[in-house]
């Protein structure tokens, strides 16, 4: 069993971190082998992903159990808060790299390439662009594009709907939080469920948009620097929405089981913080990727 030292909870030795590292190793190695079409790649990836999913149930489950058993005091709670806060900061910096690439391409590199009349004669700086050797841009939302051209997704169709969905979900998760603080369990579960549903709706539209882009707009990962920044930014964001929605769904299950107390519920708050973070990133995307 574990012991509290001076009130601080110190966990016993644990096997899960080492196992997780192994899972991650298998996942990475399998992915690399896949990239080079080598045989055991998919199997290693499945094994690695399986280990990681197993770890999540076991390790996170252990933390949830300990939390419900009241082993964590206020100081441990603060450690968790700091950990989550700084983790979200690291995520912001990760997105910052891709936003930086977007700004650099739009403001600097595309005009520079167009300015060099000898290297790429006839290339004019526009945005979106697939570059001097890429497909020609023919304006937003023109379906059934001809070969050698591509279109983009206009801001005020699906992206606007998605913006409203995510902004609404940020409100509903806050309402759920208020309900938790007032110990209104029914309202908590209801609004949390609505939040997860809004996240799922967002993902539905996002997948629909991707299919449109690939099948009708000629917009792919290979559509020059526009396609690259568009899909990497929205893709990583979509991945984070998926992760955030799964986290919220797990929190919902815990709420249904009666976890969390009105004054002690960092598990809930951490998930909500993460959700507000993906929301904020989306607002940045909506402005800089879709509108401008």
């Amino acid at each position: 069993m574990s012991a509290a030292h001076g009130g601080y909870y110190l966990p016993d030795p644990t096997k899960w971190p080492t196992i997780t590292s192994m899972g991650l190793f298998l996942l990475a190695l399998g992915f690399i082998l896949n990239l080079h079409y080598l045989a055991p790649g998919p199997w290693l990836m499945i094994a690695g992903a399986g280990v990681i999913v197993l770890m999540m149930f076991a390790w996170f489950g252990q933390v949830a159990t300990e939390s419900e058993a009241g082993k964590y005091d206020a100081q441990v709670d603060t450690s968790f808060r700091m950990g989550m806060g700084w983790f979200i900061f690291s995520e912001i910096m990760f997105f910052g790299a891709f936003f930086g690439a977007l700004f650099y391409a739009r403001v600097l590199s595309v005009p520079w390439i167009a300015g060099d009349e000898f290297l790429w004669p006839g290339f004019e700086a526009t945005w979106p662009t697939a570059g001097p050797a890429g497909a020609t841009y023919i304006g937003p939302d023109s379906h059934d594009v001809a070969a050698g051209t591509f279109s983009s997704i206009g801001a005020f169709g699906i992206p606007l709907i998605n913006t409203l969905l995510l902004l609404a979900s940020s409100v509903t998760v806050t309402i759920a939080h208020w309900a938790l603080k007032k110990n209104q369990r029914g309202a908590l579960c209801f609004w949390l469920f609505i939040t997860v549903a809004l996240g799922a709706a967002f993902m539905y539209f996002q997948v629909y948009e991707y299919i449109e882009a690939y099948s009708h707009l000629g917009l792919t990962l290979g559509s020059g620097v526009y396609g690259a920044t568009f899909f990497m930014l929205t893709g990583f964001h979509g991945f984070h929405v998926t992760v955030g929605a799964i986290i919220l769904a797990v929190i919902l299950v815990r709420c249904l089981k009666g976890h969390f107390k009105p004054d002690e519920h960092f598990g809930f708050e951490g998930a909500a913080w993460y959700w507000h973070f993906v929301d904020t990133v989306w607002v940045g995307l909506f402005i800089f990727v879709y509108i401008l």
Binding site: Y8, D12, P13, L35, Q75, A97, G131, G224
Partner: protein, 523 residues
């Protein structure tokens, strides 16, 4: 709170291999980090010796050029990400909880994970040397388009960097949470030892910089395999964009490598000068200023790449500003020693050598900060000399200082002072034999990262290689000293040194498995 029985149970030290695999104890994890770092130091050092063997004479004699390039690349990656960064995290794990009077790190399970990611990640990196096409050969900066053309080894390197980055971020989060949340009552921020201060700022740099590197190598991966055009001008991207993103990470990174070193020697010098650190608060503010400036100087690594003049000027002036807080630090160390009752045990020798030789590297850095002058130095051996003076003499010598300083606290035995001094003099003299001539080679125009060279560079290269081999093999003395101290020797007292400052000297030597179960009182 649990009962005394439970406490007693917890104080038993686990046995066997699972003690190390599953540990949540900050001292065990610190030990793991330090040994891992030392092993990587020897692995990276062996690669350096391959390089120096090839450069012993003009012409190609030991390895082929492609393998030479792999050695240059992997030597740097192993030393930076495998030896220096984990080494300092090892010091942080061992010392921070004791220095702030905490029972352990704030997040012990995550602490275990941060360490155990490292061996798996470096396995991928070392494995890259054995796959078809070989390891990464584009230099540790993995600039495209060269890194886009590489084989499977580059993919292995990209994922190595991802996993090492995760480890660093998790470790840094843990360190910040420990320092901000676990301090004993009375340990206010401005009472913290300087090593703690430098680490909290370093941890911030890590969390801010490592994700940017992750983004950069992700773009590299998608450019390699998924048809994106981030770094291809034909698609509207720009290979230079990689350099900007990389160095936005890369410059904070070099301060990640040096700030904890500043922290260590700021602990060591006051002890052996028998005077409190001169200008404590100015040290704290100088560290913070260096950290801030590190984010606005990155393009000084790229003066010759073809930037607008306004960019060159901005980065020149911002870079030269760094000399001010760094100068404050050097001045404070000298002022701490001024009229102190100094003795010269091995830790102090290393600390003084750090101050002196790091300053040499700092001054060559100032020379390169001047844009027009840098056009001559860029990508020559002058750069190689410069960054070995700052990373080896700044970071590694400071780590040696820290090892000798705290080894009695870790093992409970004094180290062999004679062997320590032999290690010191051999290291410092052979380092200068190796790297001082490289300044001249660079001035004369010898380019870096090329396995062959023109005949007029032969003498200095031969001198440099001889120094390099002495430097490399001298490090085995350190291994011997550490093993000797673990196995026995004169018992160390709790204080070890003559009235040193800090909570770590109030606990017995060796430090018990758990310290400060009850928070100490700090006045």
């Amino acid at each position: 709170m649990t009962t005394a029985v439970a406490d007693h149970h917890h104080d038993e030290v686990p046995k066997g291999i699972t003690r190390w695999l599953f540990t949540t104890n900050h001292k065990d994890i610190g030990t793991l980090y330090l040994w891992f770092s030392f092993i990587m130091f020897l692995v990276g050092g062996a690669m350096a010796l391959v390089i120096r063997a090839e450069l012993f004479m003009p012409g190609l004699q030991v390895v082929n050029p492609h393998f030479y390039n792999q050695m240059v690349t992997v030597h740097a990656l192993v030393m930076i990400f495998g030896a220096v960064m984990p080494g300092f995290v090892g010091f942080a794990n061992w010392m921070l909880p004791m220095m702030v009077g905490a029972p352990d790190m704030a997040l012990p399970r995550m602490n275990n994970w941060s360490f155990w990611l490292l061996p798996f990640a470096t396995t991928l990196l070392i494995a890259s040397l054995f796959v078809p096409g070989g390891g990464p050969a584009a230099g540790w900066t993995i600039y495209p388009p060269l890194s886009i053309q590489g084989g499977m080894g580059v993919d292995l390197t990209i994922f190595t960097i991802h996993i090492l980055g995760m480890s660093s971020i998790l470790g840094a989060i843990n360190i910040i949470a420990t320092i901000l949340n676990m301090r004993a009552p009375g340990m206010t921020l401005m009472k913290m030892p300087l090593f703690v201060w430098t680490w909290v700022i370093t941890a911030f740099l890590l969390i801010a910089a490592m994700p940017v590197l992750a983004g950069a190598v992700t773009m590299l991966l998608t450019d390699r395999h998924f048809g994106t055009a981030f770094f291809s001008a034909a698609g509207g991207g720009d290979p230079v964009m990689f350099q900007h993103i990389f160095w936005f990470f890369g410059h904070p990174e070099v301060y990640i490598l040096i700030l904890p070193a500043f922290g260590i020697i700021s602990q060591v010098i006051p002890t052996f000068a028998r005077k409190p650190l001169f200008g404590y608060s100015s040290m704290v503010f100088a560290t913070a200023a260096i950290a801030f400036l590190s984010f606005i100087v990155w393009a000084h690594h790229m003066y010759t790449v073809g930037m607008p003049l306004s960019g060159e000027l901005f980065f020149m002036y911002s870079t030269m500003l760094i000399a001010i807080p760094t100068g404050v630090k050097v001045f404070n160390w000298l002022a701490t020693m001024w009229r102190g009752s100094m003795t010269f045990e091995t830790p102090m020798l290393y600390a003084i050598a750090t101050v002196a030789l790091f300053t040499v590297g700092g001054l060559t850095g100032l020379m390169m900060a001047i844009t027009p002058a840098d056009f001559q130095y860029h990508d020559t051996y002058f750069i190689v000399a410069h960054f070995h003076y700052v990373i080896f003499c700044g970071s590694v010598l400071a780590m040696f200082s820290g090892v000798y300083y705290w080894l009695p606290k870790w093992t409970g035995h004094m180290y062999d002072e004679t062997l320590g001094k032999v290690h010191f003099w051999l290291t410092v003299i052979s380092f200068n034999i190796t790297f001082f001539p490289q300044h001249f080679l660079g001035f004369a125009g010898m380019p870096r990262r090329i396995p062959d060279y023109s005949l007029q560079f032969a003498e200095f290269n031969m001198v440099s290689s001889i120094g390099g081999f002495i430097l490399g093999f001298s490090q085995l003395i350190l291994l011997w000293v550490v093993i000797k101290s673990i196995r026995g020797g004169k018992k160390a007292t709790a204080e070890v040194w003559d009235n040193p400052e800090g909570l770590e000297w109030t606990v017995p030597s060796p430090a018990p498995y758990h310290t400060f179960a009850t928070a100490p009182e700090v006045r």
